[in-house]
Symmetry: C2
Subunit: 274 residues, 2 copies
């Protein structure tokens, strides 16, 4: 998509491609947000998508009103520390250094959303199709009384959990599997349901559990289905060795519940060699 | 203070002391709160002290309307994970197990305040005078852009910090000192200004710094003055070896700024041998 030299009468602009590209900048932003008050990442008719907030800020800075392409679409209530997006704009519109760009955008954003980093990327960079790895973290507060400092950040699980059983089950998710039983896509699954999980570990610090999920990519609601199932295993609802059967079944009905959205954070997205 | 047998006509109740004590229960509660919306711990005419919220909940459960004695008084905006309080009530009023008491109180509290633990303590237990150690933690987010997930939980310090210099300075606070230069008491200091810091360390995880301060006790705003001074040392405003001179001076004017309240959390209070 060229923002400077649209084809005239169906013919291409007279400028050769390299020259044209020099007049278009492709930029990458790293974005953190508290998802509590938003209807998820994606633009909404309500205007309460995180994407809407950032595109409104960009529109105030850049006349070409850039649209964002994001690495991931997060659900309502899900947070991010390292969401990656890209956008293009005419080089002439970028009148500040890339170090100042986050400050300029942040000055126009609500406090719940921050741009932590901006960089120029090559024309073939793509925030979504170029991502080679994603890490999500999920927080659980496992104590009869919730920790008020983790309100909207962690799932409160009051019943005692068998961490050993959960860790044994978590190891089963490791590797390459058909994750059809752990996604909420209705009807025919259009995408390939095979994903590779490189990490599926549970860290503990007192009553606080942190699930670290890292992989090549994730199906819709896959993180929340994995965490929900592991917590139900910790509660004794399923035996730990049931995960292999759930994966084999390919049936969402056999797996456990979806953990609530507010415990989940998109931690980072990686590009380049996995 | 007896809540069951007040002296009649100035004479003591006919029951001997041990019998009397058996009719009074002294209970200890551990309390966590998000201090953002409160005017500090202590009861306020506004009713927006954390203490007010808990005493109102207790008044709905116990006709004797117990008043709390707390280990510490935290400033407006300061949080707690392990605040300790005690109160007394007639044994006959306690009609539930101690395991259920936190649930009953929490059902009557705003979500920002939670009782995490309740226990019966001996008559000579005192939440404030019996405390032998306190740990505070202070969070700083050291990056040009704030982390929105730490809003109201961490102090945003955008400028780069020299962590080595800060750690050298932190070591100087270790041990027993006159901390008069690090307290905001106005006029004559009524309490002994000598305190012992057993820990004064700075942990780092990416842009997140956690100051762990542990000691026999803390003067008014002492934690915030120590952290504020260490951050200013990290910014190059004072050399690290200046802390010894600040301590020696006994003059609040020589030390650094108070770090803002919202980064501070009362982490735990200990009783018994230090």
């Amino acid at each position: 998509m060229s923002l400077v030299h649209p084809p005239v009468n169906g013919r291409l602009s007279p400028h050769p491609a390299p020259h044209l590209n020099a007049r278009v900048r492709k930029l990458k932003l790293v974005i953190a947000f508290d998802g509590t008050g938003f209807h998820g990442w994606q633009s909404q008719p309500s205007g309460r998508g995180v994407q809407d907030a950032i595109e409104q800020a960009l529109a105030a800075l850049f006349p070409s009103q850039p649209r964002l392409t994001a690495s991931s679409r997060t659900d309502a209530g899900v947070h991010a520390l390292g969401m990656v997006v890209h956008f293009e704009l005419p080089a002439a519109e970028l009148r500040m250094t890339l170090r100042h760009l986050p400050l300029a955008i942040n000055a126009l954003l609500p406090r719940e959303v921050r741009v932590s980093h901006a960089a120029q990327v090559p024309p073939d960079f793509h925030a979504r199709f170029g991502a080679t790895g994603k890490q999500y973290r999920y927080q659980v507060w496992n104590h009869p009384a919730m920790n008020p400092l983790l309100e909207n950040r962690a799932w409160h699980v009051p019943r005692p959990l068998d961490l050993d059983a959960m860790r044994r089950a978590a190891a089963t998710f490791h590797g390459t599997h058909d994750f059809r039983a752990f996604t909420s896509n209705r009807g025919t699954l259009l995408e390939d349901p095979v994903r590779t999980l490189r990490r599926c570990e549970i860290r503990r610090s007192g009553p606080q559990l942190t699930f670290v999920l890292e992989g090549s990519g994730f199906l819709y609601k896959m993180c929340r289905a994995i965490v929900g199932t592991l917590v139900q295993i910790g509660e004794g609802r399923f035996p730990p060795d049931t995960v292999a059967r759930m994966l084999d079944s390919g049936d969402r009905q056999t797996a456990g519940m979806n953990a609530p959205a507010h415990g989940l954070t998109l931690w980072r997205v990686s590009y380049g060699r996995p």
